[in-house]
Amino acid sequence: MTTYLVRRVLVSVPTVLGVATVIFLLVHLLPGDPARVIAGVNATPADVERIRHQLGLDQPGWQQYLTFLGRLAHGDLGTSTHTLNPVTAEIAARAPYTAELASLSIVVAIAVGVAAGVVAATRRNTAVDLLISGAAIAGVSIPVYWLGLMLVVLFAIDLRVLPAAGAGGPTSIVLPAITLASFSVGFIARQTRSAMLEVLGQDFVRTARAKGAGEPRVLVRHALRNALLPVVTTIGLQFGTLLGGAVLTETVFAWPGIGRLLVDSIFFRDFPVVQGVVLLIAVAFIAVNLVTDLVYAVVDPRIRYG
């Protein structure tokens, strides 16, 4: 197990290096001059040149790349060209908000999605099933942006019970979390339903019932346990969807997370921050994939990592 972990971590090093290289190339291929954007349209050419020099943007591309890699090796992501603060500080100020939003959303998505999927599977072809399946399709199909606005209109403007935007207090996360979770809830519910239906028709479920196990025990211990493997894969994949959705959700709700930081930084051509955020997301992806693989072994004892 430990050897497996160490190997996986080592294998991810070239992946991160590859991501770092690709993102460095991509941001430098973007049209637009960062020094001009920072200096503003009224700046004199001398101002623009001085800023270009201060930021090291007057150096050749390969030299900037080597500087970037050299710093990266020391865990230094450079300095934001927009705010002049260290990139690590910029990300550290924002990442907790996204972590909070994404983890709450995934918890909501798993709890609601799995429960709804199980209920729908056991009440197959009834009104309840139809309702849940319909809601699941809606959750997958409704654009995050539109759903967010509708929730704001209802809960913030009409009922005035929840904040419309910002991160100012414990209730402010409610609407963003529901909005962000909606897609994953639908997706997980659909996956759980079909996986459960498959398992419920198998012989061992009939055997469990025949030996007199109660229905809750049959459903949870026997059926759900076996249906979970594809669902866990789905949940792992949902992480990527969540980060994508976080960009939109954070914009609609003015949530100060890294999704918005990334978008703002692209508009400001703040290359170091774009690189830093993308690297962080890549590392998070790798970590989540690893955790997903480890959870397989928990769910299915036949899977062993040596």
Binding site: D47, T83, L84, S103, V152, G168, T251, F267
Partner: protein, 526 residues
């Protein structure tokens, strides 16, 4: 063990989720004059609060509440005293002496004096200050030295005569900070994070991307502020800002969505204020394009001006948030004079185009998106009018601002379009700033004269206007230059944008300035 690792993963999520940010303070009842907290939603998170590094009006507006320059402008754009009570220039126009207000203290308790002015302005023109933006105040022609005459008088020596110097000193980058504060963490002399000035509010806290909180400076030298604190929430999406004020969770919002202006104006609980602005919006014409020599003819460019119905665009696309241009600059600038109008006349436009052999000419039009109020929609309307006048219009192609700036801010040989929509907002209220758009010395990459226009007569008049010490002489020179530019028509002159902002009817005394800022410092509960 196996079950536990899944559970602990979930628990970890819950724990992180529970560690939210601090609680909100509720909006408690407010007296007739005094208020607890004013919440303002703005669209941009200030890149820096360092006065010396200011480039965007939203950030400057926040800095203005904390740190004041020697002079500022009123709602009409006229320069008026602030930390200086009077100013004079020497006979040769090369040195300017400002007399300072006495008895003023910075919000850290240290005294405001000539030493502090020298410290702040030296810092602005020192290239070691991070991302400093001296603009016209720096460089070879700008401030060469700052001398302390005595405690209450300070003398600036310029590299060359510069008549609008006092106007240029109204910019936020010339704000005065407490010298002592620049060495108090997190500030360093080269990078100020939390400015300490003489303003009516002082820095309290900031969460990047979310909010900045300012608290009242109880010891402010002038009229005392009415709200104990003001919170500037960063809400980039215009629709979300509108949601906040409709939900009663913001008292003031900047720039509501353009399409919703009529609906907001109908809401009796809100006030929509069309703040003044010095920003002109124009379709810039490439006047030197070797591939389209027709556009080199002033008559063709005038025809394009007649072809576009400015009033209709203002009414239907901008919902009234603009006034048509009657000069190549906004009324708010010193030196503006009304010089004419290209009244919409499609048949005249067609005639002129035909006479010049330009009927059916193909033009390429581009526009930024999300930079100015309804920008790409205005470009679409312009394209429609030009098509009606018989032109073949390619576009409008749109792009985000940095890409766009990279496309238009190029030397004439690399120009790739005939027409592009651009806004121009002088940093201070003087015609000299607008004329940067019409001087050959400002042709990219040196400046942003992206029509590549130049007329020796205009250049001569502007030089006179920039250096004459007599204000009426300056006005005359600028006015003559505007008449020539208007006839030469390097632009399709569109409109002077307004800067809309919205307040609830529970707030009064929020005013707009022509530099696209709105002042909340003196706001009070209604």
């Amino acid at each position: 063990m196996r079950n536990r690792s899944l559970t602990s993963l979930l628990l970890a999520g819950l724990v992180i989720a529970a560690c939210g940010t601090g609680g909100t303070s509720s909006n408690t009842s407010a007296g007739p004059k005094h208020g607890d907290k004013l919440t303002i939603a703005v669209g941009i998170d200030p890149d820096t609060l360092d006065p010396a590094a200011q480039t965007t009006t939203t950030a400057s507006q926040v800095v203005d509440m904390m740190a004041e320059p020697l002079v500022n402008i009123d709602e009409k754009g006229v320069v008026k005293p602030l930390l200086a009570t009077k100013w004079d220039q020497s006979a040769d126009g090369l040195s300017w002496t400002f007399t300072l207000r006495s008895g003023v203290k910075f919000s850290d308790g240290t005294p405001f004096n000539a030493q502090a002015v020298k410290f702040s302005i030296d810092r602005l023109i020192n290239s070691k200050t991070q991302a400093t933006q001296p603009g016209v105040l720096g460089g070879k022609s700008g401030i060469q030295s700052v001398d302390v005459v005595d405690d209450a008088n300070v003398k600036f020596t310029l590299g060359s005569r510069f008549a609008p110097f006092a106007a240029a000193m109204t910019q936020t980058n010339a704000a005065i900070i407490s010298p002592a504060s620049a060495s108090v963490a997190p500030n360093t002399p080269t990078h100020v994070v939390q400015p300490v000035g003489t303003g009516p509010y002082k820095f309290k806290d900031r969460q990047a991307g979310d909010h900045i909180t300012l608290e009242a400076n109880k010891a402010y030298w002038g009229q005392k502020p009415n709200y104990d604190s003001q919170v500037l929430k960063v809400v980039p999406d215009a629709t979300s800002r509108e949601s906040l004020i409709r939900a009663g969770q913001a008292d003031v919002i900047a720039l509501p969505p353009g399409n919703d202006l009529p609906a907001l104006q109908h809401d009796s609980s809100l006030n929509v204020i069309m703040g003044p602005s010095d920003r002109t919006i124009q379709i810039v014409i490439n006047t030197v394009d070797p591939k389209n020599t027709l556009l080199q003819k002033p008559a063709v460019r005038q025809a394009l001006n007649y072809a576009v119905d400015k009033d209709a665009i203002i009414k239907t696309v901008l919902f009234g948030a603009a006034v048509p241009l009657d000069a190549p600059m906004s009324k708010a600038l010193f030196g503006y004079c009304s010089v004419g109008s290209y009244k919409f006349d499609q048949s005249k436009a067609k005639q002129m185009l035909q006479a010049a052999g330009a009927s059916g000419m193909t033009v390429k039009l581009i526009s930024p998106t999300g930079r100015y109020l309804q920008d790409s929609k205005v470009a679409e309307a312009v394209a429609g009018y030009l098509t009606q006048a018989g032109l073949k219009v390619e576009g409008p192609q749109t792009s985000d601002w940095p890409t766009y700036l990279g496309t238009v801010n190029v030397a004439p040989a690399r120009a790739s379009t005939n027409l592009h929509l651009l806004g121009w907002a002088p940093a201070y209220m003087d015609a000299s700033q607008q004329f940067q758009q019409f001087l050959p010395s400002q042709i990219p990459p040196a400046g942003l004269n992206t029509s590549y226009y130049g007329n020796p007569q205009v250049t001569e008049l502007v030089t006179q206007g920039n250096s004459a010490t007599d204000p009426s002489q300056r006005k005359k020179a600028y006015c003559d230059a505007q008449k020539i530019v208007w006839t030469d028509a390097p632009w399709i002159f569109l409109y002077n944008q307004r800067y809309p902002f919205v307040t609830t009817n529970k707030v009064k005394n929020v005013t707009g300035l022509p530099n696209e800022k709105f002042v909340t410092s003196w706001a009070s509960p209604a």
